[in-house]
Symmetry: C2
Subunit: 377 residues, 2 copies
């Protein structure tokens, strides 16, 4: 249940009620692909960095440890010890980006596991069954996510099939939610809008899926190689055709600047591996742009990564110490940067919500974008 | 300043006052080789697992980031944000085990860095200067640590040189502690007893160094390949010839059973990489012996690693979850096991002290050794 609290231009801020608690939007979901945030970050840590929603990957968890195993252990919430909302993707994106030798058919996708080569079939029903076994708060519909660029004819066919798959997902999840031993009988389902960079296909698809009264609507197939301008353009064209009283989720996006721009075009939900992946490579996000902590100039720098930051790393440890840990390839250095970066993203979302609710979003966005351009060092 | 609180057979429990607080003995020092416990464990975590003393390595920190860098940043305590005692080893053991192309001379050791091949000289004075720059609570004397087995003539010559080096260490540290800009002007110095498995050489050396009124006495050159029985025998022969009113430190030891036996022979201080190294390889220490969490039988096991354990991992997470993390090569799995293992060691030392202070150490030791032999699974 989505409740719009305030709108400032196209930027909106709301509350999304789930069986695992209320999500304040716009929200950045923290990615824990295999039921763990990379960088040795536990679900205890998530509470200290302001995480609202954790996102895990259906494809990865299906392969290992197996969704049946997680179901037997009481579901993903119990498995990873997290009582707030969890969104699971459909597995579609990973099937199309990680799996080998895949064949797409009307019934679904045949592919080989990237871990051990085992042959696997996944269609809309299988994706729903896996996500139901995981017992996530929000399940994502099984879709095809074509690469960029892909020709118009392929995209149109693909989108039509994705629509047919969505209907099958909806029917299957309705059936699963009614079963006796289902872990989360109130599991929600988000549809995914596709259409590449063809605005008219996107719009047509948005209208079609809007009629289905889903719990939320995602925009997939962006941030796959098109320019930022193309992405923003597609958002401007598509978002107005999605239901206003439902959350909009831009999948896999992005940099802090991408998020600020997408919020300004009406997006509520985000997820991205950047904060954890870049953290593991020694990069920190700050309001003065990105820092490379491996840089020699931090050797004797006893300041925190970002002055004024209240993340667990900045509260105690210096740039010099973290740089040393990274140089020595100590996991602890990566952990500190991942904690900082996730805190930075989560905290920026707090500020975004506050700015929208106070009707000063443009000002906030421009100030942040300006800061990013004027690096401290 | 060491104060003996209770003695039970040869086992003793005392308090050792330092400028960074009082250490309750027997104590297990947690090894943070390069100023960080491996396994993404921070100094904040150390407080939650009962760590009294952190141990860092002079050789590693001299090479990277450099002891001069750490001095400029205010010393090791400030660098890694830890206000309790830190012991630094002398660098001798690493020079003899890690460095390449080394030449031992009366003045010290010439060797090449294992990181970049750079030529380095380290003698007693250099070791003291580095440790003074680090500002640790307790510095260790620079010694030679010959491999096992080594012939008697070599060991005798080596021990004699180690004694001459000890005198130079003592003079140099006295000088350094008096300098204006020294970080810890009350840095302590422990001597190191050597002599391989030749009890008479060990005893003679113990008597010689006992006369020097050091702050504490270590037994080095054990746990280098000799049998446990030889090690226990050397302890029985040597410890009685070290001062009764000073702490005795058995370097680099060992398994929980080794520690229980060594305490029973009068040892106060221990350090070992086992809990962190074995944790990173999926092994957990428990009072029912060692567990391999990668074992398939834990796939659906929702119990904590050790029931009743109050470590941060056992408080919340299951064997099944930790096994999954290890299989997926997620750092978080290693972190949980390192936290558990260090907690296990630190907590066992709490129990050891309590048992000695209650004059029931034999009973406690036998019960623990018996538990280790009767594995839970």
């Amino acid at each position: 249940m989505y409740r719009l609290i305030e709108q400032d231009g196209c930027a909106k801020s709301g509350e999304f009620e789930t069986v695992h608690g209320t999500i304040q939007t716009p929200v950045f979901m923290n990615v824990g692909t295999v039921a763990a945030i990379k960088g040795a970050v536990s679900t205890c840590d998530l509470n200290s960095i302001g995480t609202q929603v954790q996102l895990s990957n259906t494809y990865h968890l299906h392969l290992r440890p197996g969704d049946e195993v997680i179901k037997k252990l009481g579901g993903l919430h119990k498995f990873m010890v997290w009582d707030k909302p969890i969104l699971t993707d459909s597995g579609g994106f990973q099937v199309f980006s990680l799996a080998k030798l895949r064949k797409i058919r009307e019934e679904g996708v045949y592919f080989n596991s990237h871990i051990n080569g085992r042959k696997i079939f996944m269609g809309p029903e299988e994706s729903m069954q896996i996500q139901s076994n995981l017992g996530s708060t929000i399940a994502m519909a099984f879709d095809e996510c074509p690469p960029h660029p892909t020709d118009r004819a392929y995209i149109q066919n693909s989108v039509d099939r994705t629509t047919r798959w969505l209907l099958r997902c909806k029917n299957e999840l309705t059936r699963l939610n009614d079963l006796e031993d289902t872990i989360n009988k109130r599991q929600m389902l988000f549809a995914i809008n596709q259409g590449g960079t063809y605005a008219d296909i996107r719009i047509e698809h948005a209208k079609t899926i809007s009629d289905l009264d889903m719990d939320g609507y995602a925009i997939g197939g962006l941030a796959v190689g098109e320019s930022h301008e193309e992405m923003y353009h597609i958002l401007e064209e598509t978002v107005p055709h999605l239901p206003h009283n439902k959350p909009v989720y831009l999948m896999g996006v992005g940099t802090p600047a991408n998020i600020l721009e997408a919020v300004d075009r009406g997006v509520d939900f985000f997820d991205c591996v950047y904060p954890s992946r870049n953290g593991r490579h020694g990069h920190a996000y700050t309001r003065h742009g990105k820092m490379n902590l491996l840089n020699a100039k931090y050797e004797l720098d006893d300041r925190p990564i970002e002055e004024g930051c209240e993340c667990p790393a900045c509260q105690k440890y210096s740039r010099a110490y973290i740089r040393h840990l990274l140089k020595a390839k100590e996991m602890l250095g990566m952990r500190f940067l991942v904690l900082h970066n996730l805190y930075f993203y989560n905290h920026m979302m707090d500020e975004i919500r506050e700015a929208i609710r106070n009707k000063r979003y443009k000002e906030y966005k421009n100030q942040m974008l300006d800061n990013f351009r004027h690096k401290e060092d």
